[in-house]
């Protein structure tokens, strides 16, 4: 008599699996970005909506086409392309010509992610890699800022947005200055609460510190983000700029440093990208400290007003080294191992 009417399945242990899977993590990141995204659209109007749609859609499309060309099952269902596109859009200036945004999105996905092997294998953060490429290719366009909360933001679109592909856009006369630009070039500081609430100008999604932190908290609560990274970055930046500010009050205050520019978005959503950050505990700390130091140094002493992107990319570049050199002590080795 057969007790079983089917073929037995054989598999390796464990036969239980925790519930989270990679696509879900990615999906929750998108969810966590929703408040920031909505605020961006509220602050910059149609321009933000357009740029975010273009980057997200192009990112997904690029990945899909790549998979088709390689006769592979499409990987867009893992949501990571959507995150990359969305995050790229959030770091761009609102009035950037859309063709540039699309080009950046293609570069993010194709050059920085897929050429390196796709999800999980990219060395550099795709969104920031794409932004770095855009910034090097079109430095003027990407440092031309558009003011937030224009009255007609829901009815008109900046003329530069619809520049013909591959041509220079004509910019509307009204140009906004960002807090960091004002600091660097005009030595003018900006009100801290304004920056916290997102009332300033800047990249599409970087302006509202509060909502970004909210999204971060959501991910931390779900254990989908390593809270140590942003916290250590913030601490490093605050300490360094605090010291400098103590000796030279003309330099930005720690609060200004934390709330201005891409610091929040970068530390909370981009430095925390699991793929391009180290995995070991001590590696993560070192990585965050390096990012903190580099962003402070660039902002205070470098030529550019903002350095978050470069700092994160530098962190990405040294991650493999940190992973290798800052391992955990293995159980039963080292000083505790010999103990009796």
């Amino acid at each position: 008599m057969n007790v079983l009417n089917k073929t037995l399945e054989i598999r390796t242990s464990p036969h239980l699996k925790s519930a989270v899977s990679t696509d879900q993590i990615m999906m929750h990141v998108v969810i966590a970005l929703v408040p920031t995204t909505l605020f961006a659209i509220y602050a910059f109007g149609l321009a933000a909506l357009l740029i975010l749609s273009v980057t997200t859609f192009t990112a997904i499309l690029t990945e899909h086409i790549y998979c088709r060309l390689n006769n592979k099952e499409t990987t867009i269902t893992d949501w990571s392309a959507a995150i990359t596109g969305l995050l790229l859009g959030l770091t761009l200036p609102p009035a950037l010509p859309l063709w540039m945004a699309a080009l950046g999105s293609v570069a993010s996905i194709a050059l920085v992610k897929l050429l390196f092997g796709g999800l999980g294998y990219n060395i550099f953060n795709p969104a920031l890699g794409g932004r770095a490429i855009l910034q090097a290719a079109f430095p003027v366009a990407i440092t031309t800022w558009h003011p937030a909360f224009l009255a007609d933001r829901f009815s008109s679109i900046p003329s530069s947005s619809f520049a013909w592909p591959f041509t220079t856009g004509t910019y509307d006369a009204v140009a906004g200055a960002t807090p960091l630009g004002n600091m660097k070039f005009n030595q003018v500081s900006t009100d801290v609460t304004d920056m916290a609430m997102g009332l300033t100008s800047g990249s599409v999604g970087e302006t509202s510190a509060v909502l970004i932190l909210l999204g971060g908290a959501y991910l931390v609560a779900r254990n989908m983000m390593n809270w140590k990274i942003p916290v250590v970055i913030f601490i490093t930046v605050a300490i360094l700029s605090g010291i400098v500010n103590f000796f030279n009050p003309n330099t930005p205050t720690p609060m200004f440093m934390l709330l201005s520019g891409g610091m929040m978005l970068g530390a909370v959503f981009m430095a925390t990208d699991m793929v391009s950050s180290p995995v070991t505990d001590r590696g993560i700390i070192a990585y965050s400290v390096i990012i903190g130091i580099m962003v402070t140094v660039i902002r205070l002493w470098g030529g550019l007003p903002e350095g978050m992107m470069y700092a994160v990319l530098m962190g990405n570049a040294v991650s493999p080294l940190l992973n290798r050199s800052l391992k955990s002590r293995v159980y039963g080795t080292g000083k505790k191992g010999g103990a009796k």
């Binding site: 070039f185 030529g303 550019l304």
Partner: protein, 226 residues
């Protein structure tokens, strides 16, 4: 392969051959180089002089001829032959041999690396009347607007560097202002998108002018003889 066979493969180096070959080839090379050097020397000298002259005539508009001066022991004297050390002053004269300006070099940190410029000073106008970038690694298309941007170069039609009462420094510092906000002749109208580079030019000129203008004005007579 056994040891004996292996040893056979190693030829004993012949010292004489080595010296002979190296020295012989060294000799040949020396001849080759020197011949080329001699043959091209005049052309290159001429080329270089032309380039320099072009630059000087550009920053001292209207100049037709030039004389090079150097400062030796606090004294201005004409440069005889060549010299590689010390700041040179290139005096420019018009047809009639009248001094219309002095050109000199200045350098400082730009966005990417050191920027070297040549600028012309007009003693009559007490102003900088021309500026040419000699060497820069500024971003092409962006920082290199300091060489090409016409509005920016307009700054140097007459950038005020007149001296203060006591004559030991500029009356007004050369300062950088945002594009389109130039109100005074000593202000440098910046380039949007190349703020850093254009600011660097202002800083370079300010540093050089505040150091050299008092000296030039005091010794202007010395430059007048061609």
């Amino acid at each position: 392969m056994n040891q004996a066979e292996l040893d056979k493969l190693v030829e004993a180096p012949n010292s004489w051959h080595m010296v002979r070959a190296l020295a012989g080839i060294g000799l040949m090379c020396a001849l080759l180089i020197v011949t080329t050097y001699e043959l091209t020397f005049e052309t290159i000298k001429q080329n270089k002089a032309e380039v320099l002259e072009r630059a000087i005539f550009k920053v001292v508009p209207g100049a037709q001829s030039k004389t090079t001066f150097i400062v030796k022991d606090g004294q201005v004297e004409k440069l005889q032959g060549e010299s590689n050390s010390g700041l040179k002053y290139y005096a420019g004269y018009d047809d009639s041999g009248k001094l219309i300006g002095v050109a000199l070099e200045a350098a400082g940190q730009g966005f990417q690396d050191i920027v070297r410029v040549l600028y012309g000073f007009s003693p009559d106008k007490q102003a900088i009347v021309g500026m040419e970038v000699l060497e820069s690694k500024e971003t092409p298309g962006l920082g290199d607007k300091i060489e090409k941007d016409e509005t920016f170069l307009k700054n140097f039609e007459a950038l005020d560097v007149s001296l203060n009462e006591s004559g030991d420094n500029l009356k007004n510092e050369i300062i950088f202002v945002k594009n389109g906000t130039k109100a005074n002749p000593w202000e440098l109208d910046g380039i949007t998108g190349a703020t850093i580079s254009s600011k660097a030019i202002a800083a370079i000129l300010q540093a050089s002018a505040s150091q050299n203008m008092p000296f030039l004005n005091q010794n202007i007579e010395n430059f007048k003889q061609q």
